[in-house]
Symmetry: C2
Subunit: 430 residues, 2 copies
């Protein structure tokens, strides 16, 4: 097979270990003895392909790549943008094909969640639709852990570790002051539709009675009276109550308990703020002093407390993606396959993107306790291996060191096509 270049792009919400996947993928391409040429990274994700803004990663030093391994965020820019159907957006597909042809790109790697798996699947049809040869491999990533086919999604383990660690620490704080101060503490986690991250907080329990005492999952309809009764009982019994809640908590009617602003057409509603809302409820109805925290982006960027297992997963799926691409496998995604819970053992596998794209893996029923306010032992057995090990970044002057890319673009060879991306700001969430 003749040597061709690769295009790599980051998509959707970033994670603490997304750039570790990027670094591993670029390194793996460099190690193919020239079977893969340059790796171009899309500036701002797939938009980099539409705009012909291709960061030439061959100009980045090995030390910069190594530093990516401990840099949170998406170093090349990550976009929330979803390609529509081929028949509706033919000009965009043609543009991407033209840009790829102009830069001799034969491999497309897309590092994202459900939405970008769908985009990868669509682009894998380019050869049959436009006659352009292209091998398309999706590299899994999402803190939401809702990708099907893979045992877990890289990015989740680190967010899970951050939340479990933070919950345990804040729990110790509240426990020490409850007799004269705050009685109820509420920590809000991201997760619009699936309660994986709230479930992770449950790992903070080491002994009976430890925080968190109540978990409110996105999957369990919120019953106000029952919740307040449990808070009251918990404070009476333990002296305090620590609650973990998903931003995606809904009423039995299906409405989100807290929704910030109105949903724009083609966009999901921006959530956030369920914790202060619950705190107000507890204060008003139970007359208990209540504090709350909303970690928001801190939970998905906390590289300083990343899970070593998660970091290994992020690197492994990237290396596996390159191996699959070299075998000519297209429309696929490398997966994490668990072979044992304890001791934890895993290997990489491969899934067809038709079993992945746009599908969401919910928290299984057997992971939610009978009273629906905590996790089960089965959930612990699943979750605990994913937060093992502390992959500390290097620090300088007391702060974590992040990579600074040169970000130099490959020279443009095609006329601009701004009309194809001008509506991006209203593109669908990836």
């Amino acid at each position: 097979m003749r040597r061709r270049n690769a295009f790599y792009a980051q998509a959707g919400g970033v994670t603490a270990v997304l750039n570790a996947s990027a670094a591993a993928l670029i390194e793996a391409c460099r190690e193919t003895d020239g079977r893969i040429g340059k790796v171009f990274a899309g500036r701002a994700g797939i938009l980099g392909a539409l705009r012909e803004e291709l960061i030439d990663t061959s100009l980045e030093s090995e030390s910069t790549l190594a530093a990516l391994r401990h840099t949170p965020g998406g170093a090349f820019g990550s976009a929330r943008f979803r390609l529509g159907e081929f028949d509706d957006e033919r000009s965009r597909y043609e543009r991407i094909a033209a840009v790829f042809a102009a830069h001799d790109i034969g491999y497309f790697f897309y590092n994202g969640g459900n939405g970008s798996a769908d985009t990868t699947l669509k682009l894998s049809k380019l050869p049959e639709l436009l006659g352009e040869p292209l091998v398309c491999v999706h590299v899994p990533k999402t803190i939401d852990n809702d990708l099907p086919e893979t045992d877990c999604s890289p990015g989740f383990g680190s967010a899970a570790k951050y939340l479990a660690v933070s919950l345990r620490e804040a729990g110790a704080d509240v426990a020490s002051m409850a007799s004269t101060s705050t009685r109820v503490f509420i920590l809000e986690a991201m997760g619009r539709h699936a309660g994986w991250m709230v479930a992770a907080m449950g790992l903070a329990v080491d002994d009976h009675g430890d925080p968190p005492h109540l978990l409110l999952f996105a999957e369990v309809p919120f019953e106000e009276t029952r919740f307040l009764e449990r808070v009251r009982e918990c404070v009476a019994h333990h002296g305090y109550c620590v609650v973990g809640v998903s931003e995606g908590l809904r009423y039995p009617s299906g409405e989100f308990v807290s929704q910030v602003g109105e949903a724009l057409p083609g966009r999901n509603a921006q959530l956030g703020g369920v914790a202060p809302w619950l705190a107000q409820l507890v204060h008003n109805r139970l007359n208990l002093k209540c504090h709350w925290a909303t970690a928001d982006y801190l939970q998905r960027s906390a590289r300083h407390i990343a899970s070593a297992v998660d970091l290994h997963h992020a690197e492994a799926v990237a290396r596996s993606a390159v191996a699959l691409a070299l075998e000519g496998r297209t429309g696929v995604m490398p997966t994490i396959v668990r072979t044992s819970d304890s001791p934890y053992a895993w290997e990489t596998g491969c899934a067809d993107l038709r079993s992945v794209a746009t599908l969401e893996k919910r928290l299984p029923r057997e992971f939610i306790a009978a009273d629906r306010f905590h996790i089960t032992e089965a959930a612990r057995a699943y979750l605990l291996p994913l937060i093992q090990g502390e992959a500390y970044p290097p620090f300088r002057d007391g702060l974590p060191v992040h990579a600074r890319l040169t970000g130099a673009l490959a020279p443009k060879t095609l006329p601009a096509a701004d009309d194809l991306v001008e509506s991006v700001a209203l593109g669908k969430k990836t």
Copy 2:
């Protein structure tokens, strides 16, 4: 001097390194060759003295004490309770004197902030008022860094490090997605009256243009129009804007920008929620997508990313307190004395509590930039040494290990005096 026992109590808001002070103090007492006998720790702080609930720390193993060094919160319980004037609350002072006499307590160590410095000063008058000999030493602690006389307050450095690290990480997140998603991110820090913690976020800047772009200090009256104009400019220039804000942000009128609930008599208003309020403002007025985080207790309990310098300070003031007590110094507080900025060097000193009690050290004017939206080089020179070094706790099963005290109480010898503490729930904030 005959051997007498010591009483130690924790007061007010806890920190990531408060228990390290406790451990160092107890260890230092154990090392006095019997000049100090047992160390009793007040259960729930000074309330332990009023209730005669004295945790006998001699029953805690050396390994438990060592584990305290990496346990956040207040392991013995920390109370928000302030003793009134002697003439107004004579019965409480008499009760404390009686409890101390019953347990042969000759040394009183109070580990807290401004309010507890005042309590320590008041108790140092017990010998002249009631004829009971007692040496009283205050051990400084507060994340607010507002204690006078000491260069810094143990607990602040770790909260500062947490905030600077989190800001840098979340800043990388926002930078990578701003072109199609969130443009403005707001991180809220604690600090009712002083903007020390917001100032610490300023350390995250490594190069020109790095986040945070705007800091809103408790000391600088909030001007809505000017703030929005700066956010708009910043987004136009950098593509995004990261803001750090103090929970104590006030309008020029002096009112808090966001105040949760009404202030109860004798209590400070419970703050929190200025970040979501600002986010709404930015969204409504500038039509920019905005995210926000409120770290709340996470910032004062994040032992996993504690500053090594802060930890050393916390241990040093505790050991110094014991040394001062053995010299018979009463009504004093050990301090941190900075002898050099770069390389950072420090030693312990001693301050008279009359220069400390109830006084608050504000952020100096020369630490706030001319435009009042950032810190100065002088502030950096002051702050940077305080966040140096990562004092990681041990982890087990992916989570930090915390001490579990037996918490056994010394046998009670006096009749109960519940009436003296029943109004505690409305006691003043310490």
